[in-house]
């Protein structure tokens, strides 16, 4: 195969580095971008730069936001007696889509995973403890994935937070083990939230 012009090659390489984009899709996208209307490429580039500059993780909950703290943390109409603990920022979006939860969120940034060297220090657990004190939550809902690591993380949190005088609940059974919340449809997710129960 003849070599691509170096700037195009660089674009392909950059795209290939993105999640779920293989070499072929990367090439297809790159070829499209260099051949389409210049405005398309221009506005894509601007959108990427702007989004990257403006969107950050909320200092408080760890969700995606443009302001500090995010509107979910600052919104006064939300139930500030309960906090829902999730693994990733996108999980917040999943719950928000269902409308089944009106409280605050806390994103851990992952789950305990000894095989990947992820322990409690790598997660936002100490921050959660601080929030329990400063915001006075009465209930912590653990909404973690149902695989071994998610369940072990829930178990760990129960032990660590259990003596702090808060109620700890878990989503009702029904979240498929191994899958993140992305694969769960809205109905299942809101049922799981509504049927949450005491975790011992």
């Amino acid at each position: 195969m003849t070599r691509l012009p170096p700037p195009l090659e660089a674009l392909v390489t950059a795209l290939k580095g993105l999640p779920s984009i293989g070499p072929r899709s990367a090439l297809r996208l790159a070829l499209y971008l260099v051949q389409t209307d210049a405005g398309v490429a221009q506005s894509l580039a601007e959108a990427v730069t702007l989004a990257r500059a403006r969107v950050a993780l909320c200092d408080r909950c760890g969700g995606l936001t443009e302001q500090q703290p995010c509107f979910l943390c600052s919104g006064s109409r939300r139930d500030s007696s309960v906090v829902c603990v999730v693994e990733r920022p996108t999980d917040v979006l999943s719950f928000e889509r269902t409308g089944a939860f009106q409280g605050r969120y806390h994103v851990l940034g992952g789950k305990l995973s000894p095989l990947d060297g992820i322990g409690p220090e790598e997660l936002r657990i100490a921050l959660l403890e601080e929030r329990l004190v400063s915001e006075g939550f009465q209930e912590v809902v653990l909404a973690l994935s149902g695989d071994v690591e998610g369940d072990a993380t829930a178990h760990y949190l129960l032990k660590r937070l259990g003596n702090k005088g808060v109620r700890i609940t878990r989503l009702a059974q029904g979240l498929p083990a191994g899958a993140g919340l992305d694969f769960v449809d809205e109905l299942t997710l809101s049922r799981a939230m509504e049927g949450r129960r005491e975790f011992q």
Partner: protein
Amino acid sequence: MHVASLKLRDFRNYARLDVEFSPGCHLLLGNNAQGKTNILEALYLMATLRSFRGVGGSQMIRHEARGYFVGAQVVGQGVSEIKAYWSPRERKLSVNERPVRRLSEYLGILRAVIFCSEDLNLVKGSSQGRRRFLDLILSQTVPGYLVLLLRFAKSLKSRNALLKQVNPPEAELEAFTAELVLAGTAVMEARNLLVPRIAPLVRFAFRRVAGDADDMSVVYQPGFRGDLAVALANARARERLVRTTVVGPHRDDLLIQVNDRSALQYTSEGQKRTLAVALKLAQAEYLSEVHGSPPVLLIDDVMGELDAERRAAFVPLLNQVFRSGGQVFMTCTEENWPRELSQDLIRWTVQEGKLVAR
């Protein structure tokens, strides 16, 4: 259940193979090193996503090729079109054009039992092979077992990773121990229920193969007695020293005995072979019993290794397969094919990666 068609691309010595199979007994004849066993390997791969030769995917790619493709149409309750592509960089598995997300959803589409010379390891080899044997039967018969087994394996690995740390963190250890206990206890319960169910089948199969003289038994031998949580707690001091999980179902075994003595120590080579065949016959019969129809039987050269008298032990199972519209694939060379089974055989010649009906 039968495999209606098989398609190979760059698999072992097959550059390209497209073949259709009817139900019944297929005899794959050919000289050595022509690709007979490779066909069985491909069929077994469709059933279990593993090679029965215990090798990884890259060894099955034809020399110089980038990846292999194995496809099959399986006729069971319905018709399933399986497609599997494997290369070091990319794996694809689909059933009826839908990608398979979970292994547990896949197993069961094609049930197969292999009889091969590696089976001898069931008797002679380490306990790992015997645990795999039990686990495969359980995955083929108990919905949800595989999920459980994978959960156990994951919690064991995670727990061992924690124990390897300079100062194993107690709280995390406790969290993963809880998962290990849950999954591990369920795994042991399943194995404990299975063994007494297959034991009489193994015993009768052994009698049929070996003649009446000897008595064989199999007994589930858990790696410890009592409650897993308690056993783990008691083993903590030892774990601190060896830095790995020392009790649990990963230490289970299946004790094989002949006339109440350990088969490993007190049997001849020929008897060990017979024991291995009996275990596999029992597996096939148990699957037939549970599912109401026999699995696809893959018999690699085993007939050649047994004399005509001992071969006769297969006849009831083969008859059952014929009656129920099942399927058998049997490989052999011209010298050692079991002529006494000569009616109703569908014969193929295998030569240099080609399959020709005779």
